[in-house]
């Protein structure tokens, strides 16, 4: 474990430093407020709010501010005071939990109005690189809510769960086919969770061969933060290798880093630069020659379905991000799911319980201890099943040809968009990209002082969600753009025009960009104060400690 007890003072400084590096704590540039302090169209409480919101009230009070003692609906019957008589006093809560008291009309309006403050795939283009913000089909939402799926308890005897078990077993097979892997576990709840599962299997593998000298995991400098963080969680130290000028792994550097101390190489392919690893064959050879295992971070699989199978190419283990490739919703941050596929050598180590199919076609979960080589459980039950139902539906709707088309369309859209942006922005790695590409505003910044952050904020005024910015870290002033296959050419064109026009604006009205966004319910935030004086929950609340009705 790498964790150490940090001195609060040191930690805070380090944090501020890092955050500032990422332009997160910028205090507003001078003049930033100028754009809105022209006179309000009229006075009145909503006059200034209304300017920003078309319909309805503006920013919502928090639930505690809406709370009033004695409000509330009747969701369940009331239980009298004697209901808890058998609970010893010492175990009981003395005053009711300070939850807010509202009734349903207030609850609904609160959350509906909050929802209006969000940008989402269902409202507009969301080209957040590395996140594959594709459309979420509505039939999948319906399917996941079918009572047969939704109401099933995870600990029921297998005979009551044949529908879900069949679906999970099918999905494992589909993912194995797509990845060319030998077997798949659906348990991990997210990509990072899949990474941990995968690297723990790598560890178990080496240990099973009593090859205990392997203490390092190698990651390229373009890798996602979860890769090194995973290596640490699994007890490894991380070695970073640099990228070459074509955006690939510098093979020479990799070879130099590899050795008997190497447990695994974690490679994102296509990479977080949106590039396919051209030296993949040599790379895999080098890894295996060193006795290490090759982990593929499959978060970017949306680019290569039906074109490249990591398992067939020689990767030993990989994870999928079903909330990316297979269009399960991102949910404002989750849940997703991060299944892991393995080749033959890692199969014995898969977490338990696996879903097994017997000869008569019925399904069962592996029993506890049935497979002692397993790394064990990585979570309480079988996986984010509600999410996996959606992934199964998505794959079923497409079939093999459809998934291949998905990847083709995603790659075509990314290359098209790249070509449309290549005069106003600089494209550091100018070769065909896969599902996404990096552009940099570094030259523009040198010319105009306008930063990528300003460009991103200005895009919001144009009605678009900004791409991922300042990532991957190895590209200065990076914009990582991932259009996905579910956006029309008209949308791609409009986005390109917006970015191109922003480049013009940067030259002509740089201050406008630094003041952006101006059309949003709130404008740039004071993130420094948020970190320095954390306000992580509300404090006072009307309605606190109302005694229960008896």
């Amino acid at each position: 474990m790498t964790g150490t007890l940090q001195q609060p003072g040191r930690e805070l400084n380090a944090e501020l430093e890092e955050a500032a590096h990422r332009n997160e704590l910028e205090v507003p540039a001078e003049g930033a407020t100028a754009a809105t302090d022209g006179k309000q169209p009229a006075p009145g409480p909503a006059g200034d709010r209304g300017e920003r919101r078309a319909v309805g009230p503006s920013l919502q009070p928090t639930l505690n501010e809406l709370s009033r003692p004695g409000r509330g609906g009747t969701v369940v019957p009331h239980a009298g005071a004697e209901a808890l008589n058998s609970i010893p006093e010492g175990h009981r809560r003395r005053v009711p939990a300070a939850l807010p008291e509202l009734n349903e009309p207030e609850v609904i309006r609160h959350f509906v109005n909050l929802s209006h403050l969000n940008y989402a795939v269902d409202t507009g283009f969301y080209p957040l690189g590395s996140c594959t913000m594709k459309f979420n089909p509505k039939i999948n939402e319906w399917a996941a809510r079918l009572p047969g799926f939704a109401e099933l308890h995870p600990l029921v005897p297998d005979e009551l769960a044949q529908g879900t078990l069949a679906l999970l077993h099918e999905l494992e097979g589909m993912l194995a086919e797509i990845s060319g892997m030998q077997a798949v576990t659906l348990q991990p709840a997210a990509g990072a969770h899949g990474e941990l599962t995968g690297i723990l299997m790598v560890r178990a593998y080496h240990r099973s061969r009593t090859d205990t000298a392997r203490t390092q995991v190698i990651v390229p400098d373009s890798s996602h933060g979860t890769n090194p963080a995973t290596a640490s969680m699994a007890g490894y130290t991380t070695v970073t290798v640099r990228s070459n000028e074509r955006g690939g792994v510098d093979l020479q550097a990799l070879r130099a880093a590899l050795g008997p101390q190497t447990a695994a190489v974690m490679l994102t392919n296509p990479s977080t630069l949106g590039l396919f690893e051209e030296g993949i064959v040599e790379l895999l050879e080098a890894v295996h020659q060193a006795g290490a295992l090759a982990y593929m971070d499959g978060a970017n699989l949306n680019a290569v379905m039906g074109r490249f199978k990591p398992g067939a190419a020689g990767f030993d283990v990989m994870h999928f991000n079903v909330h990316k490739t297979f269009s399960t919703p991102h949910g404002g941050g989750g849940p997703g799911a991060g299944p892991v596929g393995v080749g033959a050598i890692l199969k014995p180590f898969l977490p338990g319980p696996r879903v097994l199919r017997d000869e008569e076609g019925s399904y069962r979960l592996e029993g506890d201890g049935e497979r002692p080589t397993s790394i064990g459980r990585v979570r309480a039950y079988q996986g984010n099943v509600g999410v996996l139902v959606r992934a199964h539906a998505y794959i079923s709707a497409h079939g093999g040809s459809g998934l291949r088309q998905v990847s083709e369309d995603a790659v075509l859209a990314a290359n098209y968009l790249k070509s449309r942006l290549s005069s106003a922005y600089s494209i550091p790695f100018d070769r065909p990209c896969k599902h996404e590409f990096v552009a940099t505003a570094a030259p523009l910044k040198r010319e105009t002082g306008v930063r990528t952050l300003d460009i991103a904020k200005r895009l919001i005024d144009y009605g678009f969600h900004p791409p991922t910015i300042y990532f991957p870290l190895i590209v200065e002033e990076a914009l990582l753009v991932e259009p996905t296959e579910t956006e029309s050419i008209e949308t791609l064109d409009a986005f390109a025009e917006a970015l191109n026009s922003i480049a013009d604006e940067a030259r002509q009205h740089p201050d406008d960009l630094k003041a952006a966004p101006t059309t949003t319910p709130v404008r740039r935030l004071d993130e420094a104060t948020a970190a320095r004086q954390p306000d992580l929950h509300w404090h006072a609340m009307a309605g606190t400690e109302t005694p229960c009705p008896s």
Binding site: V75, N136, F308, G331
Partner: protein
């Protein structure tokens, strides 16, 4: 194609702009030896066929039994408001709120979630969600290790089996040690044994974990356990069920430094195991060690109150290998469900849910006792308990045929324990009906006669 809006004319236009004839040219960078020839998957399905297929699969599950199964996942009434809100595209098709100006909806609901859980747990720092109760427990254990720089964690044997197993898996990586604290015959954790385990000065303990209610549904002596842990310089972790917190003392009050738990009971359907909601909360002293997202209040350039992700230097995307955890995508929509659930129920509604569960459970206890199945333990319980049933697994299977899902046969989890092997863990909640209880008792009586 299913959901891509491109027509062949669109594709031609894009290819034209790129000056290429076929999309194949864009895949030339895949070395020919590594190229795949296609995918051998079933034919694409129209939405109609897909719906038919999925409805048929769902129909093969049986969700119509009278169920007394809990064991960490509980059937509760979920107000209709919850689904109305979480099925709004603005919430479920957004992602991590990286751009706060257009994500106040997500950010504020997370802040509200943190606040609600802070109220329930009595702890000041609540992370925006973890994968599930097991993962949250493992992260809690790791937190104690990072914070104390010690390598040994003690966890009560009466914590959910799967949470213990998951923690053990997580511990594999760091060569960390996880030891079980035994239980007493009354089903609660053996504090004497805990004291002995803590006394080993060679192997100082980072954290002590107890469940409340524990895996047998029983109430643990949390105050005393926390005291023992603290006396030994260890952190104390409570593993809780959140609905119970409406009526039980909050972890912050009995000295827990960290609280982990499964948030599923707060408005989330069982779904055969997920997605659920890993609850993780801690004292302010541990704020730099807590993994996962935190949202804080601040102001914008106009002085308007707003919310933003904060203290992000704990997270993997900034701190990489030095991060508090590798967590990235979490269970935000489940946290939103819990937020809507708690807002709809309110303090008294949640208390009624917990209290009705207690009432129903006592009705169940009496009915089963009447059918010859007595409680196994003496310690007080809230709404889940163990009953002693000789040959429990066979009885459990026979009850299925009578439409009763008789909880969990504990032989599955404690095959070597001669007492638990003959026990069923059963629970009741506010949705349990007297009729269901009657069916259970009658069927049991019939089986035994």
């Amino acid at each position: 194609m299913a959901y891509a809006p491109h027509t062949s004319a669109d594709r031609a236009r894009m290819l034209g702009a790129l000056g290429i004839e076929s999309v194949d040219a864009l895949f030339d960078d895949i070395p020919s030896s590594a190229r795949a020839g296609g995918l051998d998957l079933p034919e694409p399905l129209s939405e109609l066929k897909l719906a038919t297929r999925l409805r048929a699969l769902a129909g093969r599950n049986r969700v119509d039994l009278a169920s007394f199964l809990g064991a960490g996942v509980y059937r509760h009434y979920i107000p209709a408001a919850v689904d109305q809100i979480i099925s709004r595209g603005e919430f479920y098709t957004a992602y991590t709120p990286y751009q706060p100006e257009i994500s106040q909806g997500t950010l504020q609901t997370i802040y509200e979630y943190q606040s609600l859980l802070a109220a329930l747990t009595g702890l000041d720092v609540v992370s925006a969600s973890h994968y599930d109760g097991a993962a949250a427990t493992a992260e809690a254990a790791l937190m104690t290790i990072r914070s104390t720089r010690r390598q040994r964690v003690l966890a009560s044997r009466a914590i959910h089996r799967h949470y213990l197993e998951t923690t053990a898996t997580y511990f594999e990586g760091g060569d960390l040690s996880l030891e079980e604290i035994p239980t007493l015959p009354d089903g609660t954790t053996d504090l004497g044994a805990l004291e002995t385990l803590l006394a080993d000065a060679e192997r100082p303990v980072a954290g002590v974990l107890l469940g409340q209610p524990n895996a047998f549904g029983l109430l643990e002596p949390m105050v005393e356990a926390a005291e023992l842990a603290h006396r030994a310089g260890a952190l104390f972790v409570a593993v809780v069920e959140p609905v119970s917190l409406a009526v039980l003392a909050p972890p912050g009050e009995y000295g827990a430094d960290i609280c982990a738990g499964e948030g599923q009971p707060l408005g989330i359907a069982p779904q055969y195991g997920g997605p659920y909601l890993g609850i993780l909360a801690s004292t302010t002293a541990l704020v730099r060690q807590i993994p996962g997202r935190l949202v804080g209040g601040t102001t914008d350039v106009d002085g308007r109150r707003a919310f933003v992700m904060t203290m992000r230097a704990r997270e993997q995307d900034i701190r990489r290998e030095r991060a508090a955890s590798n967590i990235c995508t979490n269970q935000a929509l489940c946290a939103l469900a819990a937020t809507v659930y708690l807002a709809t129920l309110g303090p008294h509604g949640l208390r009624d849910v917990a209290a009705l569960g207690a009432v129903r459970a006592r009705e169940l206890e009496a009915a089963l006792a009447g059918a010859g199945a007595q409680r196994l333990h003496d310690a007080p319980y809230l709404s889940e308990f163990c009953v002693s049933v000789p040959d429990a697994e066979r009885v459990h299977a026979a009850l299925l045929d009578r439409g009763v899902l008789a909880g969990l046969p504990l032989a599955r989890w404690y095959p070597d324990d001669p007492v638990l092997r003959d026990a069923l863990l059963v629970c009741a909640t506010e949705v349990t009906t007297s009729d269901e209880i009657e069916r259970f008792a009658t069927a049991l009586r019939e089986l035994r006669s």
